[in-house]
Amino acid sequence: MIAWKFLAPGRIAPFTGVQWSASEWLEARSLPGTGIHACALEDVPYWFDEELWRVELSGSISREERQIVAGRGRLLARVEGWPSAAAEFTRACVERTRSRAVDALQAAGRIEDADALREERNLDRLQKAAAALAEDGSVVSGYLFDAIRRRQCPGLCAYVAANAAAVGGLRAHDRERAAQVAWLFDRLGLEKA
């Protein structure tokens, strides 16, 4: 089966430190609870690292929480658009979070604040404005501040955006994560496995 996997630079598995071969199969050690870990499409925004690879899995395969665990796997191809698309990805997270902050401010009757936030084109000024609104009690504006501040780190920025959405409930959270997946699917050409 086809899946996705993030690796640290040099094809290094981020948690085990194991280096993946460019094409050879990697076997999971035959101990319980270990295996080759990879992402289904919907898991991708949870596991960001420097290199994104399309991988093939085989052997015993099981769907676990947020990942697929397999007996063996091999790298097929590097996804060219990552990490160069990371800045655009986080920008999209910021923009969706901005919309949520604007909606929340409007819902709270703070129309001028909402308009100002919506209109601000400059990212630094937006960050400052969001910070001020956070001080003033707008939690979602606070998340907007965090998202802009942490836009260098896609994993964290995506998490912030998910948290911002979660203020509106679990379904809103799930919609944000789905939006992140959809963005990556479209932009990076990740086919549904």
Binding site: G33, E64, E65, V69, L156, A158, Y159, N163, A166, H173
Partner: protein
Amino acid sequence: MSRALPEDLDCIVAVEQVTDYIEGAMPLQARTRFEQHLCYCPACMIYLRQIKAQIGVSALLAEHKPPPEEVTRKLLQFFRASRRG
């Protein structure tokens, strides 16, 4: 609310799991949640790296000095005596 999903770890909890994680003493689900946390928390990733670096440095403190001459001689006497009896 301070986290998106109830199963997300807070950092204050994650740092207490670091030893279990390095020891490989966590079941898959707990290990996944810990690794998840690292993926969105550079601060805890730094913390984990610090602990690992510290473990690496600790190993360099191992002493390889053999005992001084007179101790070796004494121990050799023990050895010979113990094998005689």
